[in-house]
Amino acid sequence: MSQSLTLHRDLEAFVRRDEAGKGRLELLVSGARCAGCINKIEKAVREIPGVDAARLNLTTGKLAVQLEGKEADPERVVETVEALGYRACLFDPGEAAAAQDREGRELAVALGVAGFGAGNVMMFTVPAWAGLFGQELNGSTLTLMYWMAAIVATPCALFAGRPFFRSAWASLKRGKANMDVPISIGVILTLIVSFSETILRGQHAYFDAAVTLLFLLLIGRYLDHRLRANARSAARDLLALQTPVAMRLVDGVEQGIPVAEVKIGDCLVVAPGDRVPVDGLVESGQSELDNAMITGETALAPVGAGARLHAGALNLSGRLVMTATARSEDSTVAAIARLMEAGAQTRSAYVRLADKAAALYVPVVHTAAALTFIGGWALGLGPREALLRAAAVLIVTCPCALGLAVPAVQIAASSRLFRKGVLVKSGEALERLAEVDHVVFDKTGVLTEGRPRLIDAPAHVVAMAAPLARASRHPLAKALAAEAGLGPVAADCVETAGQGVEGLIDGRRARLGRAGFVGVTGGDARETELWFGFENDIKIRFVFEDQPRADAADTIARLCRMGLSVEILSGDLAGPVGDIAREVGIAEWRAGLTPFDKAAIVDEVKAQGRKVLMVGDGLNDAAALSKAHASMAPGAAVDAAQNAADLVFTGEGLGAVVEAIDTAREARRRALENFGFSALYNLVATPAAMFGLINPFIAALAMSGSSMVVLLNAARPRIAWRRR
């Protein structure tokens, strides 16, 4: 049935057209790894009539396709790529255009300019340093060197410093001082003092320090930006892979439209195996729904005409035609959305480690610099010498080590997690994750695999029913077929939506499906079951269960060993929740909870002063996810849950949770070590600068030295982790 449907899909909404009518299409392709993949995909797509050019970006997995005119069918492109064995989905052109990374580009340009300045200014300051140690370079030659340094350093520093100046100004306007304020003041004051020293033919000018400071800081800033940008785009790609296209029915023809464009009153088609795109009412059709994502309940719900559908429910057996009663963004129950917003607000009150450090650092350093100036002048140094010493204080206490301390560690930690299939959305998320002491799990889809699996069936019985199961699209039948492996398919198969499948196995008529369909009365409706029987023969019952993930019990044990308490909050019935809890070894569990109960319990635990990590995948978890101190969601979770979660883990294992907490704690330790080192360094350097013991050579050495130590310390865990 789905084959005939796809022929009518109209995906024009995903094509961006220019004035000449040429179109551009973006696809997200997963599975491409090598030159051979590029070759196969680009060649096959170019051969489609109407396609002008195709180019696959192996790094991002985006395939850009140029269409010549109207005749090329986007669906054909998707099919071509999928026929080669890659997973492909269309990317919303609006999204792709918004992905232009302007901030990253500006930082890279600033970094390039600062690097150029820092390198070239050395040409003049290194000879000048020689003069400081009694070598022959002094007098007018020294002044010449400083002038040349000024010509290189000043424009570079003013240009490369723009990101800092802008942020400092914005923060000052709000009446606060962030880390960029002392940086900006430091750079500008250094330039002013250096100019005045050069004009007055003094010995100490710090042009190199101003540019090098910016260069080192921009490295930290750029790392931080890359971390956020990578995580953002990876998260978006993950969602794009599962964002369904809603099928709108217009005059009997199905058109594929992005779910965001669904309007109230639209007539939509939901094929078996698809998720319900928005809230709505069933117009026609019969099917069973899997509501596990929304309520956590594993029992299937039969629906017919007039039934209410919730966005996110999985349509199992029959084709449904529905009327949309809400748009996509209103479809998540409004109250859940409100709760999520409230959760996000409490979370934004979290103060990042770097900002905590800045809050301490800024007043201390500025007071020290001001005291040096005032004290020095009062003690008879003269305003010029006093100002020079105050500038030296600002330079040697430059927060480059502070600016690098956290981003360097976080990028090391998150790239390690990325390789393990865990996506960190921000550095702040890692900091919060490191603090958790209580872990709350959802049951369905988190502790369990979220899909049924056959239990306790002898192999020969499974093999008997398998030919019929292979012909069906129903998830229970698919699970049965998966258990049996490859084999023959029954002949003359007819699938009745919501009932089962009938066909010929070795010439005998057989049925597989609901109890009533197969001819059994009084089956237990609560259980997830499937009946099978030949005509006029005994009937066999298959029972399915949602199995816990293979490493669930092991993961729980490891969490307990790490000193964390663990709890299950589930919307499912007490029976299945209790079974799973026993199986994986969790003592504390609560069942039958509504989404609001879950959020309330998370709040309650938080009120006891504990830091909660919520791990959930459903719409019913979204509110709790956004209220928890930190949150994780599996890659198969609904959009709302993935959006609310700080970390998203792909892959089959639950071990990612332990891995993530472990890495986050390690990163926090390293960041604190880096802060400790910076504090120690400042404790030594500041008095030295106050008493005029610092000259430009020592300042340059100390500044890059402290940054190097911090960077090396951040890289250290990476090396140790690899070995482990």
């Binding site: 030159a35 590029i38 991002t60 390039g112 030659t141």
Partner: protein, 53 residues
């Protein structure tokens, strides 16, 4: 000593050339797909110039 007046601008000019080369590589999209660029040299007929937008 006069040679400095020639050498200093000259070396800065060299450095500036490097800087502008960096800008050019960035603007022409040469960092968009490092993995793909490494793979594309293996096939003669694959387009090996960065994509033009």
């Amino acid at each position: 000593m006069n040679i400095v007046l020639f050498l200093a601008p000259f070396s800065i000019g060299l450095g500036a050339m490097g800087l502008f080369a960096f800008f050019w590589t960035m603007r022409s999209g040469q960092y968009e797909d490092p993995k793909g660029d490494a793979a594309r040299i293996l096939y003669d007929h694959l387009e090996d110039k960065p994509p033009q937008d």
